[in-house]
Symmetry: C5
Subunit: 96 residues, 5 copies
């Protein structure tokens, strides 16, 4: 998984029926030093993350390993809202 920050939302009304009811977040990826990378994912969010929060995002077939996603054409999903990231015994990020 990669770490990412919730930056925004993507909305589309003309879509595959299997995309109905899926909330899509625009996530900007974060590097191992906590800096924003020039990379993003538009991911389904079944967890309920808020703007500015750090999340863990998976990619590939893992995005369909969720009861409600089995037959949806998803390739990225938020799996958790990050509370803390610790690197070399130093707190890199804390969601307080």
């Amino acid at each position: 998984m990669q770490m990412a920050k919730v930056r925004g939302t993507v909305v589309g009304t003309q879509k595959l029926p299997s995309m109905s009811g899926v909330k899509l977040l625009l996530l900007q990826l974060i590097d191992e030093n906590g800096e924003l990378l020039p990379k993003y994912e538009v991911a389904a969010d079944p967890v309920g993350a808020g703007f500015g929060e750090w999340v863990l995002v998976n990619r590939g077939s893992a995005a369909r390993q969720e009861e409600n996603h089995q037959n949806r054409p998803l390739d990225a999903m938020v799996v958790a809202i990050i509370d803390t990231v610790t690197v070399d015994n130093r707190r890199l990020y804390g969601n307080e």
Copy 2:
């Protein structure tokens, strides 16, 4: 998923039988600031996107998560036409 702009079409008549009847679009990827990237995907489009529109494209096995695609050798598919992209409470894109 990634955001992409419909730039063109790719046509081939000598192909696997399982590729018959699949409309293939040439999509140029878009970054999180709305700029075109030097990357593209040739993707199946079951949604019916038009030239110049922004779409969401998936990749990998997700491209076969569509009734009509189950046994086709696809690795990229348009899943939605984008109406709006909002980043940091600012409208990045609107299809009006």
Copy 3:
């Protein structure tokens, strides 16, 4: 899928039994302007492409979505020989 030009062949006699009878082409990837990229794939070719032709190549599990490939350890396959590529209503490539 990506666009690629047939550059050559790769031959190996010591291989997994499941690789027997698979013709492997060396494909150089092409960008959205029709230029060769410094990237390649060695892909199975069940279509019968010739040297110098442009093809569409898939990657990942899509390479096994072909009756004769089901249990072969392939991760890239030619799915079509490209006839035409049209970008912004301009002919980028024509196989005539």
Copy 4:
């Protein structure tokens, strides 16, 4: 698989139920000369690696090829703690 060094941990309490009980390590990838790369993975660790150790990490659906991971939305997993890496008959790394 890629080689990686255990740098830290990622903790989240708001997550998918299927992520419960999964220990997540922040792994920094290592190149073929043993140098740290500016790339990382947040991976499940069913092996029990310690800080500073070198591990092998897989990615994609391989991360669910473990009895306890079958239905978890994981796309990266530690599969082994590395004892030795030998390159060109030279010891690149030894965990002694």
Copy 5:
């Protein structure tokens, strides 16, 4: 698949039981001109390649398309030892 040169081995004793008996090679990837790239894969080798040889390596779920690999957490596998690579009717590599 990608072309790669066998550079070394990776050994680990603390690992998932499903990794037992898998020989892991460190492969350095080769570009379409035959030059070594600053990229590698640690891959299972059921073919028996020797140091310095060129091999074809697959990635992703294709690495488990081998009878003995079905339930192993592998994402890269040697599928053949390369005998010859021909590019533009010129011999790029020959294993003689």
